[in-house]
């Protein structure tokens, strides 16, 4: 996935703008990480798969400003704030952080099992909160103008079937993002969410496959007047929200849905 800057409307970043992106090895996170790199930022790309991270770095605009930090974020979750401090010691204070790492697997209420539901909450909710705790430590961020971006989901407000735990984890992220924005606005840290509808990534295909859907893109295309999303539809807004151009925006949740909420119901 390579999102290069399509035009001058997108913000510029400086090399000293260090931005941590989790979930950078795939899908939406990969799209955001490569776009930020092409716009000038120094990117710390995290994901579990070293192989996928290597491939992304090979494709990105400025590989020397694209650092790989493979990690399973569920390992020693309690120590995530310290992990962030370690990255800061290595690469410098963080201008931004994108929390894109996440999982989804179909779980209707009838099939809800505590352990599986907790795993969804661990990676989708507690991991981003603990990373935010590390980021908001004033020794770890660049101060005024630093920004966090969480990936919520349209499912938080418009759940689809079999998403009971997933939808709850994303609603929790969106709500807590507002809380964090309130606590840290005086420090000049901005906190926002992007909540996409369905985007064609391994997460989407995996979810559909588990539901037994053999032609997922076809099945969902009727829901979205502008068609199913791609990571390239998400990355430009992410770059904007992390940039100083969005300096007066915090505590917001942007739903990117290909027209679902605006005109989808009558489409």
């Amino acid at each position: 996935m390579n999102c290069s800057a399509p035009n001058k409307v997108l913000p510029d970043f400086a090399e000293s703008d260090v931005i941590l992106v989790t979930g950078a090895s795939s899908g939406i996170g990969a799209g955001i990480a490569s776009l930020l790199n092409s716009l000038g930022a120094t990117v710390i790309a995290s994901g579990r798969s070293q192989e996928k991270l290597n491939a992304l770095r090979n494709d990105c605009a400025e590989p020397e400003r694209f650092h790989l930090e493979p990690k399973d974020l569920l390992d020693e979750m309690d120590a995530l704030p310290k992990w962030v401090s370690g990255l800061v010691a290595k690469y410098g204070k963080l201008k931004g952080m994108v929390c894109s790492a996440g999982i989804a697997s179909p779980m209707p209420l009838q099939l809800m099992e505590l352990e599986k539901a907790r795993r969804i909450f661990d990676i989708n909710y507690f991991v981003p909160m603990l990373l935010a705790k590390g980021f908001c430590d004033r020794r770890n961020n660049a101060g005024r103008g630093a920004a966090i971006l969480f990936l919520g989901s349209m499912a938080a407000t418009n759940p689809l079937r079999a998403q009971v735990a997933y939808t709850g984890s994303k609603a929790a992220v969106v709500a807590s993002a507002k809380g964090i924005s309130l606590e840290y606005s005086s420090a000049g840290i901005r906190v926002n969410c992007i909540s996409p509808a369905e985007v064609a990534t391994p997460l989407f295909y995996g979810f559909s496959e588990e539901l037994g859907d053999e032609a997922p893109e076809e099945s969902v295309s009727g829901r979205y007047p502008l068609g199913i999303g791609s990571p390239g539809d998400i990355a430009p807004l992410a770059a904007f929200l992390l940039s100083d151009q969005a300096g007066w925006i915090t505590g917001q949740n942007y739903i990117l849905d290909g027209g679902y909420n605006g005109c989808g119901a009558n489409w």
């Binding site: 430590d137 004033r138 020794r139 606590e183 005086s186």
Partner: protein, 72 residues
């Protein structure tokens, strides 16, 4: 707990880069805000088994006052 250990812990609680002195005036510290005060109450409970009210803490003037309050 001796003064040096307290200073290190209190500095970490305030998420402050530069070391603190016992005579530093709380109100003059950039990091001393309501979130830092709440974190300090948690520190008192964790390290000194002392339950404090925000109001008591806010009445302190210097870092030393906080140390004495925690130890009292």
């Amino acid at each position: 707990m001796d003064e040096n250990k307290f200073l290190a812990l209190f500095q970490d609680t305030l998420q402050r880069e530069t070391p603190l002195n016992m005579d530093d005036i709380l109100a003059s510290l950039e990091e001393w805000d309501s979130l830092a005060a709440m974190a300090s109450i948690a520190l008192a409970e964790r390290e000194f088994s002392k339950r404090l009210k925000l109001k008591e803490l806010k009445q302190q003037k210097t870092v030393r006052d906080v140390y004495e309050l925690f130890r009292a």
